[in-house]
Amino acid sequence: MSHHTLHRALLMTALGLFALWFLTPLYVMVTTSLKTMDQVRDGSLLSLPTSPGVSAWLKAWSQACTGTDCGGLKPFFLNSLMLTVPAVLLSTAIGSLNGYVLAKWRFRGSELMFAMLLFGVFMPMQVVLLPMSQVLGWLGLASSLSGLVLVHVVAGIPSTTLFFRNYYVGLPDELIKAAMLDGASFWQIFRRIVLPLSTPIMVVTLIWQFTNIWNDFLYGVVFSGADSKPITVGLNNLANTSSSVKEYNVDMAAALIAALPTLLVYVLAGKYFVRGLTAGAVKG
């Protein structure tokens, strides 16, 4: 065995072990969610389900108790969907427009504005809780889904703007100048030239925002009302609702239900994500 292949074998073994280490919890979750409670009690943590079934999933979806209410995760899941989709689309659209202006239509103070927006990226979420609840109160949006959407859009704008701005800085200025001389307006340049060249960063931002907003717990627990709680809050309530027996299989199924959409997004668009993160300027 040559020196090179030995190295390679060692590397692969190490990577394989790491992968195993990180995948074990997922394995436990999936197998447990497919077991009956009897088997959970009798078998070992790592054993395969003897008669796999989806009853735990069905219960988690529509019958499990979250507090006093026993309707499963379904309403929470739908809330998350109804809040995440508009919040992701809006924050991405605004970020793209902001980035376009900050990168290609510099004005007096635009750099300062960008610096202040950057500040928003690093600001801890907890800082805005009180002022934001006050603002939502003034706007009459407290405890509503639209209020949560607004919070997520505002909280997302700094990072979406940062993504798009840094990507657009890499687009040659001459493209914009050429379009101006060709007679295109601010919006025409954005729509016809800049947006069509934005696919990689668009995918990155969409995935980033989707993951962040879907997985958010803090804003969800603070700003939601009784019927606008997102899935993360639902999952928390489900797992914390005390009953006579702890139904691990239902808990696991519920956690997987909560995690599935982001996993799905990664599987479908993950390669664009990696490509987009490393993409440089568009070659003309």
Partner: protein
């Protein structure tokens, strides 16, 4: 009233003057070259004509219209950029038609314009391709096609050939010239290459440090350079400049008297010039049996002509002689020229005398 009139245009960034009062006027159909070293302000001036930058003061007129502060899109100007700036997301045909589409030209007319331009530039077979799939020369052609498609009042070129290799550059230079002869569109062309300036221009503005050093025809610029800078900048190999002194109608270097003709002598006396530079184009110098003695230090044959460098009592001189030379390095030679072909410049002001 000229087709393009630039009047007292100034540009100031903080405390630095980028342009210090530019005055240029050209007639319809003329090809104006803005040439100078990098940082001379030529690109800034071009951007102002394009509307991509605004002057601090002064005015720019296109025909009867004052366009100084008009947005780019309303100027009816087309520009070819150094990087070509083709839209990567559009096909060649879409690139060419884009400006027409923005101007709401009907589809049929747009397609006709694309066909016309494609035929003119021989890019018909490229129309469906994306810019990324084109070679440098093809991109250059498409960029020109995009500018040609809408018959603008004014064409701007910003160093369009500097991204091409030497051979292609010569080809494209000829194409630009032919194109201009055919379309007769008033053109402003920025370059730092003096050969492009001389070969393409009807008028040349030689710029340095935000000022026009000389504005004239290529012939003016070459045969009567107005300043020492122009004399050195235009022409290759560069003009020989010998530091000399003038006293009572006699011009000499430290060790060598230099001949001047009557007109030059009168001009020197009238101007009261003391220290001066005695300039000789390499092609004004030739070998002779007598004249300025010197020793050959270098011989550079180019084929049709040869550049020879000789150390003389007056200083080091480069001559440009036709064909090959039979002399060898180290040989003693004599150089001769007609005094009337010398260019005299005041050593302090750098301005031409006579």
């Amino acid at each position: 009233m000229g087709a393009l009139t630039i009047h007292q245009v100034r540009k100031r960034f903080g405390t630095t003057d980028i342009l210090k009062g530019i005055d240029i006027e050209i007639d319809a159909g003329e090809f104006l070259i803005l040439v100078g070293p990098s940082g001379c302000g030529k690109s800034t001036l071009l951007n102002m004509i394009a509307g991509l930058d605004a002057p601090t003061s002064g005015s720019i007129r296109l025909g009867e219209r004052d366009i100084t502060h008009l947005p780019s899109k309303d100027r009816d100007i087309a520009m070819v950029f150094q990087s070509y700036a083709l839209y990567p997301n559009m096909s060649v045909a879409e690139n060419i038609a884009f400006a027409l589409e923005m101007r709401k030209v009907p589809k049929a007319e747009r397609e006709a314009a694309v066909q016309r331009v494609a035929a003119m530039l021989q890019i018909g077979h490229l129309l469906d391709r994306k810019p990324g799939a084109l070679s440098g020369g093809q991109r250059q052609r498409v960029a020109m096609g995009r500018a040609l498609a809408r018959n603008p009042k004014l064409f701007l070129f910003d160093e369009p050939l500097s991204n091409l290799d030497a051979k292609l550059r010569v080809e494209m230079r000829a194409e630009i010239k032919l194109l201009h002869q055919r379309t007769r569109t008033t053109t402003v062309y920025v370059t730092h290459d003096q050969v492009e300036a001389m070969t393409l221009g009807d008028r040349i503005a030689v710029m340095k440090d935000g000022q026009v050093q000389q504005f004239g025809t290529p012939d003016d610029i070459y045969t009567r350079p107005a300043t020492r800078f122009v004399a050195e900048f235009i022409g290759s190999p560069a003009m020989n400049l010998l530091p000399a002194r003038h006293q009572l109608g006699v011009v000499s270097t430290a060790q060598q008297a230099l001949q001047v003709d009557d007109a030059q002598r009168q001009a020197l006396q009238a101007a009261g010039t003391g220290d001066l530079l005695y300039g000789l184009r390499p092609e004004s110098l030739g070998f002779a049996d007598q004249g300025l003695p010197g020793q050959l230090t270098m011989i550079e044959p180019t084929g049709p002509e040869t550049y020879v460098t000789a150390d003389t009592p007056a200083g080091r001189l480069t001559a440009r002689v036709p064909g090959a030379v039979r002399h060898r390095v180290g040989e003693a030679v004599h150089l001769q020229w007609l005094p009337g072909q010398a260019h005299l410049f005041d050593a302090t002001s750098g301005l031409r005398v006579g």
